[in-house]
Homo-oligomer: 395 residues x 2
């Protein structure tokens, strides 16, 4: 039997990983907080990554995808305060310089370093400041939290998680950090995530596990329906434990990390006051279930109603109606947690007061039973508050 | 030569049309404003209509579509305060009763009456109150403005327009009223519109003209990306002028009405502080141009930036990137009015101060030049403000 235990350490929980951070004033020139971090592996690690599907890809995304092809990875360098996106050829040169400077600092080859940036779009990356900052980074086993803090933008809390998994063949560890907040849509958004493990996992298996796990976690979250230029999830496996877990065991450990971090990203979304699970049941197809779930989760009117604690089912039904999913109005049932708010396409008998109590909670589940098939899909989302608008008025 | 002159009278500007309104406390039971209106034609009118494409259709939409099939129309009855949507079979019975009661009051057959409702979803229509209210409606040539006021919901101003068109063959008139505000998306949204003309137009030509004119006006406006269950545009042509204009002349007069009303709906959107024309040029296909325009117009992040007067082009480029439209980042140019904010996918040399002056105006144009083809599309949209969220928190 396997035993899974949550542990501390985040991105440094697994054997052979260290991390560190420093402040170099990337956004304004003034050093007010840490904004540059490194995650380092003592031995070459098998690496997998998923990147934004936006056709506008930030320079670090292009450079990391390029370096990933070259084989084994030793380090990831990450900065907040500047996304190095929409910066043209100059931005690509800057991202390559950031990798090369990190490699020089750590005694590696540039292609052994992956690069992540998050922050403002369209502003040149201050490479000189970053080069100088790199010299001040001290890598340590205890550096995971500092790294997780350094990549925060409008996040209000650092996001880390780690697990120790004991199998019959021995123990391995997996841990990760992420940043999220606004612009979160299925297919990742303004999020960065680095996951490290000391398990022995062949590169092909690592890639498949990450692709599937991201599909069931980060690609199910949506805050504002926008999709960023910088989204990156990196998974490094350095074999430091010497333990090669069965694929199912590794996958479930990885899912534990990706789901915990995805949920924390949603809960910490900009100006969020509610965490809502939207579940579609009995859709005609999986694609229909996803369309309906995302239409609800991205409807500004539905999200405003949630912000007001209003269990407004008309707006939910309306969103299902324009989602394109096959539906029959008179067959639809909608629930807030276990209580029906609409059945047969009309108001249910549940007292409004009880429904309002649920919709006023910090977390609840909305289930839509389409009754036209057997496919399901769920997404995690939030309300839309005045605070969200205030945070995104621009700078 | 034709001469087109804007005139007063709205939905009663054309010969043979009258209107009237009354208050019957549809929303709360208390009479605080007019909420029921009739538009009446002294002679049977050829009729055309376009309805919401949402699969969830309100009862009045179903009943009007049904009555439209029966031939010539004499009246439209409209109420605010209750959408009679998501109300099941009972709602259909109520919408039919509303048409029948109106027909009885005016000495018509029920199928000569079209029905429109707008307001809360999922609440039974108070038919008894409406039946009583109908008796109090006095129809008059001067009743257009009262009718336009009675159908307002969160609209802050009544929306009417009318034109007198002099041709070589004689003069005809066309006028209309609309209500809009929130939940406005391409494909119409929570909007009602009634247009009347005394031109002689055969039914088939009337239908085609309306379909095309709606495509170039109401289907180009988007406020919050939601699409309502009640959207209806009705066009009545009663031949009262005896003048049969050339198809092109009629179409351009109709376009004058639909575009003016569409623009006023957007300008009066919930919590709107900016009116923005988004134009896509040189897209690979018309569908791509539309996708890119709508992705920008529906991006919460872009709209929040506009609310803050921030000419943020990174968010615009990001939206184009995930729209699905064919693009090449290094070829894209973006303009605020005539000033480039980005060229070749990177920041343009235009001083930020000048761009900010434009983005802080009440109305401006954002143009994206994709440089990959020759197709264009434009939409009209707004910013997203804290006021919008406040207005939609639920009741």
């Amino acid at each position: 039997m396997n035993e899974i235990r949550q542990i501390k350490g985040g991105v440094c929980a697994a054997a052979g990983f260290t991390a560190g951070a420093t402040g170099c004033g990337i956004k304004t020139g003034e050093v007010t907080r840490d904004d540059l971090a490194i995650v380092f592996s003592e031995f070459p690690a098998a690496a997998a990554a998923t990147f934004t599907t936006n056709k506008v890809k930030a320079a670090p995304v292009r450079v990391s995808a390029d370096h990933l092809r070259s084989g084994r990875v030793r380090a990831v360098v990450l900065n907040s305060g500047n996304a190095n996106a929409c910066t043209g050829q100059h931005g690509l040169d800057d991202a390559r310089a950031m990798a090369a400077d990190t490699a020089a600092h750590l005694g590696l080859k540039p292609e052994q370093v992956l690069v992540c940036s998050t922050g403002r779009i369209g502003v040149p990356l201050p490479v000189a400041r970053i080069r100088k900052g790199l010299l001040g980074i001290r890598l340590a086993r205890a550096g995971g939290t500092a790294a997780a803090r350094a990549i925060m933008t409008s996040d209000t809390v650092a996001k880390e998680i780690a697990f120790d998994i004991r199998t019959e063949d021995g123990a391995f560890r997996i841990g990760g950090m992420a940043k999220g907040a606004g612009m979160i849509d299925p297919n990742m958004a303004t999020m960065l995530c680095v996951i490290t493990t000391d398990a022995v996992v062949p590169r092909a298996a690592l890639r498949q596990a990450l692709r599937e796990s991201v599909e069931d976690s980060f690609n199910r979250i949506t805050i504002d329906g926008d999709m960023s230029t910088n989204d990156t999830v990196i998974l490094l496996a350095n074999a430091g434990s010497g333990v090669a877990p069965a694929p199912g065991v590794f996958r479930s450990a990885l899912d534990g990390v990706t789901r915990a971090l995805a949920r924390r990203i949603v809960e910490d979304g900009e100006g969020v006051s509610r965490f809502v699970e939207v579940e579609i049941h009995r859709a005609a197809t999986k694609a229909d279930a996803r369309r309906a779930a995302e239409a609800i989760a991205n409807s500004t009117l539905v999200k405003c109603a949630w912000a007001g604690g209003d269990p407004n089912w008309g707006r939910i039904l309306d969103a299902v109606g324009y989602s394109g999913a096959k539906m029959k109005e008179s067959a639809i049932a909608i629930f807030y947690d276990a209580l029906p708010v609409a059945t047969g396409g009309v108001a249910a008998a549940t007292p409004v007061k009880k429904l309002r109590q649920i919709a006023a909670r910090k977390a609840f589940r909305v289930t839509v039973d389409l009754q036209v098939g057997s496919a399901s899909h769920g997404v995690w989302t939030t309300d839309l508050t005045e605070e969200y608008v205030r945070l995104n008025l621009g700078e």
